[in-house]
Amino acid sequence: METLVMARRWITVDGNEATASVAHRTNEVIAIYPITPSSNMGEFADEWSAKGQKNVWGTVPQVTEMQSEGGASGAVHGALQAGALATTFTASQGLLLMIPNLYKIAGELTSYAMHVSARTVATHALSIFGDHSDVMACRQTGMALVASGSVQEAHDFACIVQAATLRARVPFLHFFDGFRTSHEVDKIEELGDGDLRKMLPDELIAAHRRRALSPDHPVLRGTAQNPDAFFQAREACNPFYLACPGIVQETMNQFAALVGRQYRLFDYVGHPQAERVIVMMGSGAEAAHETVDYLVSKGEKVGLVKVRLYRPFSLKDFTAALPPSVRAIATLDRTKEPGALGEPLYLDVVSAISEARSAGLSYPSHVPAIVGGRYGLSSKEFTPAMVKAVFDELGESRPKTHFTVGITDDVTHLSLPVDPDFDIDSTRRDVVRGVFFGLGSDGTVGANKNSIKIIGEETDNFAQGYFVYDSKKAGAVTISHLRFGPRPIQSSYLIKRASFVACHQYEFLDRFDVLEYAEKGAVFLLNAPFGPDQVWDELSKEVQTAIVEQQLKFYVIDGYSVARDAGMGTRINTIMQTCFFAISGVLPKDEAIAQIKTAIKKTYGKRGEAVVQANFAAVDQTLAHLHEVTVPAAVSATRTMPPIVADAAPDFVKRVTAVMLANKGDLLPVSAFPVDGTWPLGTAKWEKRNIAAEIPVWDEAICIQCNKCALVCPHAAIRAKVYPADTLAGAPATFKAMDFKSNEFKGMKYTIQVAPEDCTGCNLCVMMCPAKDKSNPKHKSLDMAPQRPLREAERENYAFFLDLPEADRTALKSDVKGVQFLEPLFEYSGACAGCGETPYIKLLTQLFGDRAMIANATGCSSIYGGNLPTTPYTTNRDGRGPTWSNSLFEDNAEFGFGFRLAVDKHVEQARELVAKLADRVGSELADGLLHADQTTEAGIKAQRERVAALRKRLAGLGVPDASRLDQLADYLVKKSIWVVGGDGWAYDIGYGGLDHVMAMNRDVNILVLDTEVYSNTGGQQSKATPLAAAAKFAMAGKATPKKDLGMMAMAYGHVYVAKVAFGARDAQTVRAFQEAESYPGTSMIIAYSHCIAHGYDLIHGLDQQKLAVDAGYWPLYRFDPRRQAEGQVPLVLDSAPPKIDLGKYALNESRYRMVEQAFPERFKTLLAAAQEEVTHRYALYEQLAGKDKK
């Protein structure tokens, strides 16, 4: 056996990579499904396998993406039963979907270790962030639960659990905190292959294989047992659970002997005679550890028990870990179990102390007080100040038995007071603490990760990085927290007082309190378009005050001009990184620059000399442009920071939303929030982010009034209106208007208006604009121009525009132009600039938003649709608008179907009551209500008027039926039910439900926003991913064709199906939406959605849509079962036969190009197969559409 133990390396990785590194090297079969924050573990495993990296036994693990976590768990269960070493990675709802299999795997005493980056389970809201609610839902499955609290521990425990499960036969769920550990970058000591081999002896693996199902020595598992047998058989596993803790401790001891790091089932740290002790697990224990060390050094008798093996819970080891002197224990749970006497760890500790005493195990001479608290839900910060608050509470004569820490609970008053000034982080003067504000797109995070690598790997220093991301995708703000110091860094919380604060975007100074992070005497680095002599005068009073009062050393650089001159565009990452090293002195300047250049070469070398050279030039130019600013003694500014939201905003927006927008949401008390996750509409309009450098400017002189700009705008930031001329009175001086050119609104005025502060500058409207100046075609009716000089005037113009009357919905034509006069009820979402999905949703809200109910699958559309602080769905002047909810990822079709069942029931009852009360409310009105034609806007309007009249008449009746009808009367107006989601939902995880809903044939409209990958989690392949394209989990190009979801739906015969691409034929898109809604059964629209995960500048998104259609890759069609009744073929093909090669479309996109570049021969084969598939499929459609000429 080859067990050479090489010298171990120090590596800088995040928790996910640290864990996956061990899991990949110690398994044979890995089944995965993407879910934040665990996706990266699966991605690493897949990438390593795709590159041929072998496990410690010399074989490349098989990595397979499944259709859901339930599927992944089933596949793992099968692989384990067939004798493979198998694993998976997951979190949150994904883990919940695995639970049925976990019971089975444990019940069958299967050696198995899985890894979970613990994440909040969705309740009143979804959260992608970390807590233990998912893991705690698995306590009863029989899985052993092991918690690690840092990146190094996650790495070590991944090994320990794999070894322990082979010995114990109890399966293990190893977990660590989502984001705080999974995404924290740390310098750790890497376990070598030799270490792993030594921990996993061959005889244990052989034993696992011997237990496998095999026809050569067949056995039967998974029997059904009856009352006579089940109970006893269930108890038969007990000896294994009893032995398990001992085995884990032995494994930990073996690990310590090999590697040097000793863990115990319950690790105690603190004063040997501690009187106050905290019991907890996960990353929070690291902050607690630091605080305990600090408090002990100040003479306090406090201690901490870190729980490693939570299940099976070893009473003996727990009791032994507690110092006998303990008088009060606080258990801290990172989860909430409403209605329970306490959270899980609390209940376990209470039972443990009680049992220990009866068993004579307990050391304390007196019973300690035990209290339980919740902390850190959804990655809420957990800091030394909070730890101290808990110890302080334990010092009280009657500590709160149940408390929360880290929030202000002004409703049930459970929260502990926390001293905001208690801070141990900044007392360590040898630790550099840097906070960097950047844009996602400027590369700040990447550069910081790179700096950590440089410092971690090139110096003796330890390094830590944690990154806070935005809730918006376009113009996303990032805040990086970096620590460097001579000792391992345990601070598992954000930096509050930094010695270095960098603001990489000048505009942020007007949006965020950047300098609140700066400690006295800190360095402040600002990227601004001003020189050192001018910059001071541009700053607001607040910023100047902070600089003066905190005595900051202030540096400025015009990073963008350096980047521009070096050919780097807007990438200022290496420039700002160079500044950091130059000023901070973490490394000698020249060495730092050499290291940055080495890193640049490493990052871009493969992709080219041009980028390397541009970066080198930028680095070389940086120092000449970096200036220290002489700070005046006094504040001179009169300008103050602008308000976060306008004064006109509603009270809730000002009290709650604005606080969150200012990055101060942590300060909001419990009472500020709705109790059940219900949130008002129309909040996005108050967040003026001003993220576009350029916005479109309308030249009315050449406009042809096609309204296509409004249709394609992903953010509803350019709009068209037709309105009476007399309403123009009082218009701002620069407001533009022209005569409306068509006959339907003769004599009226027309305006195209941009929302200057909401536009993302994506250019789609300009690209779409067909109106060119005949003598200078470079100039179109829409041209981009710098936003800043236009901002004030256009803001005023936009406000005036919004106040102009909306067009009469009943008088509008139903073509592209007509529907763009309808008010969008989905605006300024946080989707990516140029998003290909949102124009469809916006169109939906224009057409049906005032009576729409939307069920939204988890994914991009639920994130830009419903991620706080602000949300895009809004109401019209009557207060009507889409009502929206997200249930889960997997159940969306069923969720929306439930809407339909309820609405139909409401309608049925309302109609019954109208019939019953016909005489009382007037038979003519009743008749009108019951027989209303609601197929047109006019019909809907008339029915709304009837309902209003009905309500008036019901008011005076005073009978119970009248009040019942009053509750339900609104349902007499037709509701439009929409089920919206991406391809990950429709093609994969939600397909079973989607299929069932289609089979039911109720009036539900399904909108599939098909980006052909899991966009929200980072571009993993789905069954919608096309043949030959690269995606995560399909690095070498997908080898199978895209699933033809439309064809599968058509097979039912009764489902309306349309395939659309608004950039190719907008009229067909609009028509499909109208037909789908009017169809009285199930309708499905599959909508081509260009996406950043396709790898090209989305400015060309509409062109790519056209090419997709021209190549026949995305044939446009409408399959309308109603046509059958008219003796026609239900399928109508709306696009012509393929007229260009598939390559002409595909090779404009990096997802195809990268396969061509990396695997040229394979790509040739794949593309040829894809071309054949296109030809074949189009021919099939032609046949179905009755166009077969033979």
């Binding site: 992709r607 080219g608 980028v611 929200n1016 571009g1019 995606a1031 690095m1035 570049q1157 990396a1158």
Partner: protein
Amino acid sequence: MDLSTTYLGFSLPHPLMPGASPLVDDLDAVKRLEDAGAAAIVMHSLFEEQITREQIGAVHNIQVHEESFAEALSYFPKPDEYALGPDRYLEQLQRIKAAVGVPVFGSLNGTTPQGWLNYAKQIQEAGADAIEINFYHVATDPTETGADVERRLLEVVRLVKAAVTIPVAVKLSPFFSSLPHLAQQLDGLGADGLVLFNRFYQPDIDPEVLEAVPRLNLSTSNDLLLRVRALATLSGRVRASLAATGGVHTALDALKAVMAGAHAIQMVAALLHHGSQHLQFVREGLAQWLEDHEYESLRQAQGSMSLERCPDPEAFERGNYMRVLQTWRLSRA
């Protein structure tokens, strides 16, 4: 019939070869060309600008979205082999070199001195037997003089000649105002061959949508005449060997180019139209003509109709222009 010729110092059995084009993208097609008897293979150009754009584009299109959003720190897998650079070109050159027995000529279009230098070296290292400098220049800058353009070209040739040891041919556009003078200077720098002439993309206009539409029209035999005159002008006056490219479709075309002074003839459009076996057809036709007219060898005809040797040199000079016009008038009169 002895059709042998010497081009860039290589003794070739005949002057016919495929010109720089997509003809060499596919290895099977290259083999078919060799089977058809191509005397050499000329690779399409390695475009520095394209490489640079693709590299920067990859950063722009992929990296700007990374590390921005908590759920998706990236959107693409990261294959190790994914290289955006000259690698694929060089690999293809190596593959062709390994697959065929005839000389293989690389072709390079650079934009920066560094690019010319590095890529020329890499093309040599990849095994090219010679390199063609594709100085593709479209004049659009009003501040750049004709002399500036020539200086730039000469500088590039000087750089490349210093960087490589393999023969260097220079592919020129027809728009230099004094070709013989430029040719002499190139000669002075040691250019081993001159390739006449480059064809440019000729943007068309789509009046419906007011857009310029890039278009590359394939040559016809009419295009040959411009080359014939240039070849005839330079033949015998420069040390460098001469190649005709653009307009050779038939054996007669090839013969005219040879008589004007071409040592090599590069064909693209005709091969795209008729397939690689057309090369063989032209070669046979050329041999047949020479035989029919009792030539001993191709070399006997090479340069026979150059400005120096042509019985009526004025025909290649201004008079030509005058006379054609007069003839035209007469014939229409």
